[in-house]
Symmetry: C2
Subunit: 339 residues, 2 copies
């Protein structure tokens, strides 16, 4: 029986926010697999902000996504059929199959497809807290901010896949942790359920001076570490509140991904407060994954790191789910569930 | 015989560029020294860009200079009379006496006054290459940029007291070194006399696109380390030319000291190129002085680090010499010679 594989291709490069016209749904029959190949049914697709940069043709930190090819991205699924000695049907696997329902993987390599243990961790978590977003949080916090107990750590997009882990890891380190998130529901979750010391609803403060005032109130001892996911107005408000020798881990600047970049108006703060501002991309640091995931797994299993998912249903929901990231629609990790 | 001491006080806080009205010359008789005190005749005053920040009342990296007191600053001179066992008349000393001809130091401490050896190094050099500017260059280059051989290092204000040392130290490390300086005479000096691989006269390129084009031509392999003394347009031009994992040591942003801060228009480069941007103030790192000065001294004595001074004559020339720093009038280290 031939399986018809549904795929979403990127067919044109978005100007600003992506629209449905930038994507096309296609259906292609899957061939039978050959020796050394594995057929996987994808259960979950990951949509992540970094994908926006890949949709451009310009130089960025990743190579551009080729047009008329399947949108790339992280996936989690189950082996349907295997002609490779390391895999059997039923194995749960993490991969990078992109926006499609099935994938045939040649001579699987660990970097392309790895078996994951779902006995205590749900499959979808390997695309979130137990995957790239979790390791991203760990690296920026531990290797760039490296906070000491009692220090104040602030994280933007605090209710997102990365931000939730940053804050909970910082609490484990004994820090005072303040989040920034959009809307009272997200803030309540971050503060009450995740145990951050506070969460600022930045939508209440559209003006940089007001945002600075509430940061001063919420972080009376200043800010020692800032985990940046947003950029723009929030970064502008944060800079003067940073303590001497403060560290800023620049993980993302989502506020500028779809439009005009938003300048840092007073770079002198970097000098005056002797700040370290460091950008990073987790794929540069594959060597930390085992250590990071071991630490995160322990905390997840013990219930000390909690997480939440926003799940869109069906492959065709992927473009909207992706666009929703830039509108703050996701609560925790945004996934697309295929089956 | 009573000595009359001439002093320059800061009497009001400048708005923008300092003017003569911000300073006042006073003459005060010096008392006889008591046990434990040392009387020093200052031979050279240092004027440095960091002093501008101290003239403001606002929070900065140093506490504000109090009004109606002697402008503080580094000095080099000779002991005239000593009632302290560690000093005798004729000792050459480095201190922090400020803009005045004489100073009486109580129970001298190493941090306030130290003897320096002028047998192979001229006294004035201890305010430049062999002093704070030299150690500043060393720290930013070695501890923040930490360049490998063959890497490209760019330094702005390349003909200044700090920039000249940055570039020569980077050449010692086997780097390709490009300077930025204002005017053909400075560029010729940096390139031909100091041995930089090139020097860009930034005054020829008032537009950021033109500056980027010449940086691309001069640094065909991109920029791995940038030592920032200037900020503004130059930083804007540099950012997209930085290589992945580039390091920017922010030592100064002189273009913004006297007016409106000049924003970084596209902070996304920090993320895309995974840059480390780190501000520093050398007085935070007193522990590196011995190591830095030992290395610099060896190179100076061997003639492998050259330096140049611009010398203004007499105490009353200090305010103009200081203002000249912001107009790029100094060539190498700006000093005021008192005797």
């Amino acid at each position: 029986m031939t399986i018809i594989n549904k795929q979403i291709l990127l067919v044109s490069r978005p100007q600003g926010m992506p629209t449905p016209e930038n994507f096309r749904l296609v259906e292609v029959p899957l061939p039978a697999i050959s020796d050394g190949q594995v057929l996987v049914r994808n259960h979950f697709l990951s949509v992540d902000p970094y994908m926006r940069a890949r949709m451009n043709d310009a130089k960025s930190y990743t190579s551009p996504q080729p047009l008329d090819e399947v949108m790339t991205g992280g996936t989690a699924g189950k082996v349907l059929e295997s002609k490779h000695p390391d895999f059997v049907a039923g194995d749960t696997v993490l991969g990078f199959a992109g926006w499609q329902e099935h994938v045939i993987v040649d001579a699987p390599q660990a970097s392309l497809m790895q078996k994951v243990d779902t006995s205590r961790i749900p499959l979808s978590a390997y695309l979130g807290t137990m995957g790239m977003p979790g390791v991203t949080a760990w690296y920026g916090l531990m290797r760039i901010i490296n906070p000491k107990a009692e220090e104040t750590v602030v994280v933007s997009a605090a209710a997102g896949a990365v931000g939730t882990v940053v804050g909970q890891l910082a609490k484990e380190r004994g820090c005072r942790v303040i989040g920034l998130a959009g809307g009272s529901e997200k803030c309540r979750y971050v503060h009450e359920e995740l145990g951050f010391d506070g969460c600022i609803d930045y939508k209440q403060y559209q003006d940089v001076q007001m945002l600075r005032a509430v940061l001063k109130e919420t972080c009376p001892n200043g800010i020692d570490g800032y985990f940046e996911n947003v950029g723009g107005l929030i970064l502008e408000a944060i800079l003067p509140r940073m303590n001497t020798f403060g560290r800023i881990a620049v993980c993302g600047m989502i506020s500028g991904y779809n439009g005009t970049p938003i300048p840092i108006p007073i770079p002198q703060w970097i000098l005056q407060s002797r700040l370290k501002v460091q950008g990073f991309i987790i794929s540069d640091h594959m060597e930390v994954w085992p250590e990071a995931l071991q630490e995160i797994k322990t905390l997840v299993v013990e219930g000390r790191i909690k997480s939440r998912e926003t799940i869109a249903q069906g492959l065709t929901a992927a473009p909207d789910a992706f666009v929703g990231l830039f509108q703050g629609k996701n609560f925790g990790k945004q996934l697309v569930k295929l089956i």
